[in-house]
Amino acid sequence: MQQVLEKVKAPKGGSKKSSFPKETWLTWYETMLRIRRFEERSLMMYSQQKIRGFCHVYIGQEAIAAGLVSALRKEDALITAYRAHGIALAKGLSSKECMAELFGKATGCVGGKGGSMHFFSAEHKFFGGNGIVGAQIPIGAGIAFAEKYKGTDNLCVTMFGDGAARQGALYESFNMAMTWKLPALFICENNQYAMGTSVARTSNVQDLYKIGAAFDMPSEAVDGMDPEEVHNALDRAAKHIRSGKGPYFLEIKTYRYKGHSVSDPGKYRTKDELQAYMDIDPLKLTEEKILKNKIATDAEIQSIKDKIKAEIEEATQFAEDSPLPIAADLYTDNYVENDYPYVRD
């Protein structure tokens, strides 16, 4: 663990003057706060059995979402795994439609059909919400392929965990993406664990960014506890990709504070390890930096807090008040045709 922490650069704590404007700082702060509060609420709602099934929260990893909001364009596509709530919110989905989805309601972002693992939004070019570990890696390359094919200037961000990096699909996709110079930004969110399995236990190579070297793919490790660092890395990667030179790979080192899913007590790691990351919590440090460097006032921060609090409250009420889908909708969306002849015994 110590090793891992050392590799993540120590937070700057406001020692260096930031070159980012106030709006950017506040965007980061607001994005992270929204996700944190949303996830805390979803855990609470899970314990009240309003949310069922699997539920994987993003707490601890919010700085990555913050960087995505500021460094990329709305037109860029994005695909991720089942730990999708935070990324979906960052991509522009509303707290309301996300919470309603968790509640399995008709007003959810996929009408109650997907739940926690399968948020999607065509409007926001958010391609899910994918439950099979690693499957989104080739799909992300394919989304990038389509952007290139259509001649756009957009890229596709493909996000996956450290565990997913062990799937064969990654190696096949990296190779093709590089060979075909696809506008693909691959991001490994290395939160150090795949369920109860640490990175160290699944490979000789613990610096996941090195995987890119076998394909001559530009690759780097990034401190994922700092939105500024994340933004800068994403910006470099996006410029490279948009210049037509092909894919880029970022291993963003981060940490999940909660268990793998609601049912995981997380006994495979120490309290000290968790505390070490909570000490460099991106939300807390960003707030401190903003105030210390007088980027914004106490009152401005407080008004963001109030706004998010009200937003999450409203989202939860909306989810609660929304209707369930109708049973007949089991027979919609399996095929494009509405008159598909299902077997009904």
Partner: protein
């Protein structure tokens, strides 16, 4: 002999007992060792057998299934755990193209004695990708055997048979039933309890100290009856038993058969029952088209035609993907009411 056993414990005992007997048996899969299994089936096994024989893999289903196949071809007897069968889809290349075909391709020179195991079927609101049932998929493949049984003691006996089998065997378990408890009291009464429900049924009664082996390919009659035969497997056995209780209240006596093995299929037990009841309803959690239920229906119309008083009927999951909302789960799965309805249809009663 009084006995109490959870499904997850029965499965574990089978693996442990076989690993004690045969040092070529080993267990491999995601989270099976240090985490004691995602569903605690392999709890304590790392401690007893060490990291050589209880092996945590990376998330790489295709790769570790293939490593299992190679090890089996070269003299070992791997047990490969998939966290669920949904993830085994990544490994179907190795199961279907290799494990199932090694003996045939090599004209009998290479055997592939491997067990692929994990839970199959819906486990509540887990949505499309985590709710699939695989008995019909794999039941279609020559070269593999397929087991699907959640009775704790018989699942144990079948698991032991699977580990000793010289062929690849796919074992389908149940995520929601790992915690189901079977109790056999001294008077031989057999009770299953789970989620606040209790069911009584018939089944194997192990003798003290006996090495329980349940032969692959034999169905079990869980409840004797005279008016209709309900054939089913895995957790749907309890749906059938619940339906049988509902029907009893209406004066209908249903016989419930637990297939236990999907491939090879025990036609004889089904046919014998149908000869007695003249009516057959199949309850199968897999999708309706081209599945276990269709195959049984074919066999019985072909070989039991003269004994049937009504068309064979099936109750499957819906012919759709399964969405997350509770509303969809309710609509999608077979339940006791749907089964009782189907039975009344074949009995021509309202």
């Amino acid at each position: 002999m009084a006995l109490k056993l959870l499904l997850r414990d029965g499965l574990r005992e089978a693996m442990i007992e076989e690993m004690r007997i045969d040092e070529n048996v080993f267990l491999m899969g995601e989270e099976v060792a240090e985490y004691n299994g995602a569903y605690k089936v392999s709890k304590g096994m790392l401690e007893e057998f060490g990291a050589k024989r209880v092996i945590d893999t990376p998330i790489a289903e295709l790769g570790f299934a293939g490593i299992g196949v190679g090890a089996a071809m070269n003299g070992l007897r791997p047990i490969v755990e998939f966290m669920t069968w949904n993830f085994a889809v990544l490994a179907f290349d190795q199961i279907v193209n290799n494990a199932a075909k090694t003996l045939s391709q090599s004209a009998g020179q290479f055997k592939c004695p491997i067990v692929f195991r994990g839970p199959s079927g819906s486990a509540g609101q887990l949505a499309q990708q985590h709710s699939q049932t695989f008995e019909s998929w794999l039941g279609n493949v020559p070269g593999v055997k397929v087991i699907s049984c959640v009775d704790p003691i018989e699942a144990k006996g079948l698991m032991k048979a699977a580990i000793r089998d010289e062929n690849p065997v796919c074992v389908m378990e149940s995520e929601v039933f790992y915690a189901m408890e079977l109790e056999i009291t001294d008077d031989g009464k057999r009770t299953y309890s789970f989620g606040g429900k209790k069911f009584e049924a018939d089944g194997l009664m192990p003798q003290d100290g006996e090495d329980v082996i349940v032969p692959i390919g034999k169905a079990a009659i869980r409840r004797a009856g005279t008016d209709v035969t309900i054939v089913t497997f895995n957790k749907m056995v309890f749906v059938a038993l619940e339906a049988a209780e509902l029907l009893k209240a209406e004066g209908i006596s249903a016989e419930v058969i637990d297939l236990r093995t999907i491939r090879p299929l025990d036609h004889d037990t089904i046919l014998e029952s149908v000869k007695k009841t003249n009516r057959l309803v199949i309850v199968d959690e897999s999708w309706p088209m081209f599945g276990v239920a269709s195959e049984i229906a074919y066999q019985i119309q072909k070989y039991g035609f003269d004994h049937l008083d009504a068309p064979v009927t099936r109750v499957n999951s819906a012919d759709t993907n399964l969405g997350y909302s509770s509303v969809f789960v309710e609509e999608y799965l077979p339940n006791a009411q749907k089964v009782a309805e189907a039975v009344k249809n074949v009995m021509y009663v309202k």
